[in-house]
């Protein structure tokens, strides 16, 4: 039951041995990655899988960045919208967030990409065609990317709202009692503090979006997962195809989370300076 451990000389100590705190998991992961990398270089089957799958990397990254960017814009509107004083705006934002968060991603992708986007573009195009003689067309890739943005917009709206609401009301009262108006208080007092609570989970969502671009494969977008599926189906080398795609995702997500960790550490170091 004791928090203390006994050391070799028979006395209790609060020190933990190095092997107890060492991050063995990172060694294991690095080991697996190195092994996979070696396979790709020396094993022709893995090498072929790599050659066929890696061209999907561009689309995966492009979709991730587009989806994240659009989601960020949606989240800012929906997140602050939920705190609006306007009853219509508040309820519209809330409806969107609750709807999207309550439906699994896959059916949402089908709904948005196959129903909502075509209907909306049709509606738009009758006008555009009449006015400019030009039609708007959205590729399946972009439709799926937009869907991801719509979904993550709702998740990230909650992050915005949570971050802003984590600021004690006394901060707003202090700002307002100094004569700052609502907007000034938001910009100079609330948002800078809320960013500390917002940035880390936003980073996590960026990584989550990267992984979820694999869902674009259901619409036939030639990103990493779709290429792995095609390679495996045509060569019957399932192991090689899916191992390589998993390898690519792992390298991407792990390097991103290391990057995020550095960012967070830098932010907390800045904060320590304030103490």
């Amino acid at each position: 039951m004791s928090e203390f451990r006994s050391s070799r000389d028979g006395r209790i100590t609060d020190e933990r041995p190095w092997w107890d705190t060492f991050p063995w998991w990172s060694l294991i992961i690095v080991g697996v990655l190195v092994w996979m990398g070696a396979q790709i270089i020396v094993n022709d089957d893995y090498g072929l899988a790599w050659e066929r799958i890696i061209p999907g990397l561009g689309l995966t990254l492009k979709s991730t960045i587009y989806a994240f960017g659009i989601a960020l814009a949606i989240a800012l509107i929906a997140g602050t919208g939920q705190m609006s004083r306007n009853v219509v705006v508040r309820n519209l934002a809330r409806t969107y967030v609750e709807f999207v968060r309550g439906i699994p991603m896959l059916p949402l992708i089908f709904t948005v990409a196959l129903i909502l986007v075509p209907e909306l573009t049709n509606l738009l195009n009758t006008r555009l065609d009449a006015w400019f003689g030009w039609k708007f067309k959205l590729s399946f890739e972009m439709r799926a990317t937009v869907t991801l943005a719509v979904i993550y917009g709702a998740y990230m709206a909650e992050i915005f709202r949570g971050g802003i609401q984590s600021i004690p009301p006394g901060q707003i009262e202090a700002g307002r009692s100094l004569g700052l108006n609502r907007r000034q208080t938001m910009r100079s007092v609330v948002l800078p503090q809320a960013m500390r609570a917002i940035i880390p989970p936003m980073g996590n969502d960026f990584i989550a979006i990267l992984k979820d671009t694999s869902l674009l494969s259901v619409l036939g977008a030639l990103e990493i997962t779709q290429r792995a599926r095609q390679f495996s189906a045509s060569t019957f080398k399932f192991r090689e195809g899916y191992f390589v795609s998993a390898f690519i995702y792992l390298v991407l997500t792990l390097s991103l989370s290391v990057l995020l960790g550095v960012l967070e550490r830098r932010m907390s170091r800045d904060r320590k300076g304030e103490r």
Binding site: P168, G170, Q171, E173, A174, G175, R176, S177, L178, G179, L180, N181, Q184, S188, V189, P192, Q193, G273, E274, R275
Partner: protein, 259 residues
């Protein structure tokens, strides 16, 4: 004006008071009557100390003065502006009314100097140099000019509260409101804050102070107002209210707190 709120000791220096609350009531959730029909005049240069049991509504009364709390009914007039009228520019009037909070409410992401210059620049439109000059002057006044570049978390509670006072004073307000400014402080830091407030009172600042520091009330108040259950029970010169309270509720309160 009801008889209860007419100051017995203080004589207003001019015709219209700096602050006038008329029939102010505040009801939370339609059921909790925090403030009931309060009338209160504060003359220019007057120092009014509000005391009362916890939960008596004294902080709510104070927060109604700069409309941090919107009264359910009643009128609030500050410096001739009727704050409870729909068209009044609240931000403009709030800039003239400094407020010091129990929890300091300094902006933790800004340095002391940035805390003090923010509203000066955004609301008063002062340049950085002007705002910082004013900031230094106020920091010197509260005795911590050397802390300009510190962050709030690096300061003691007493220093933080003095920065909060300096932040308000830098706006050159006509009125200062204090909401239990020493209640969150360690005992050894209470005096340094009260000293600053006492000095301010001596300089003729119009002040409304909610506090439990009876020593401060004796030393600085022109008028002591006792609030219980959301109502002004008694009001008058501090010596009089202390030594010869005319209400049982006031007597009972002082019996509990005066040691």
């Amino acid at each position: 004006m009801s008889a209860a709120s007419t100051p017995a000791g203080a004589t207003p220096t001019s015709g219209t008071p700096m602050i006038r609350l008329t029939g102010v009531s505040k009801t939370f959730n339609r059921t909790i009557h925090a403030v009931r029909d309060v009338d209160l005049d504060v003359a220019e240069g007057e120092v009014v100390v509000i005391v009362g049991p916890s939960g008596s509504g004294k902080s709510t009364v104070l927060r109604c003065i700069n409309l941090l709390e919107v009264p359910t009914t009643g009128t609030v007039i500050v410096d001739g502006h009727t704050l409870t009228n729909a068209g009044t520019d609240l931000d403009h009037v709030r800039a003239e009314v400094g407020m010091v909070f129990q929890q300091f409410n300094l902006f933790p992401h800004l340095t002391v100097m940035e805390n003090i210059t923010l509203a000066q620049r955004k609301v008063r439109g002062r340049s950085k140099a002007e705002a910082e000059e004013m900031g230094m002057r106020q920091l010197t006044r509260v005795g911590i000019p050397d802390k300009a570049d510190s962050f709030p978390r690096q300061l003691s509670g007493g220093q933080q509260q003095r920065v909060a006072i300096a932040r308000s004073l830098a706006m050159e307000p006509k009125v200062m409101l204090f909401d239990e400014p020493t209640s969150a402080l360690d005992p050894e830091m209470v005096k340094e804050v009260l000293d600053v407030m006492l000095e301010l009172a001596g300089e003729g600042m119009t002040m409304v102070v909610v506090t439990h520091e009876m020593g401060f009330a004796k030393a600085a108040a022109d008028r002591l107002v006792f609030i219980d259950e959301g109502e002004i029970v008694e009001s008058g010169p501090p010596e009089e209210v202390f030594s010869n309270p005319s209400h049982d509720r006031t007597r009972a309160f002082f019996a509990k707190i005066l040691y």
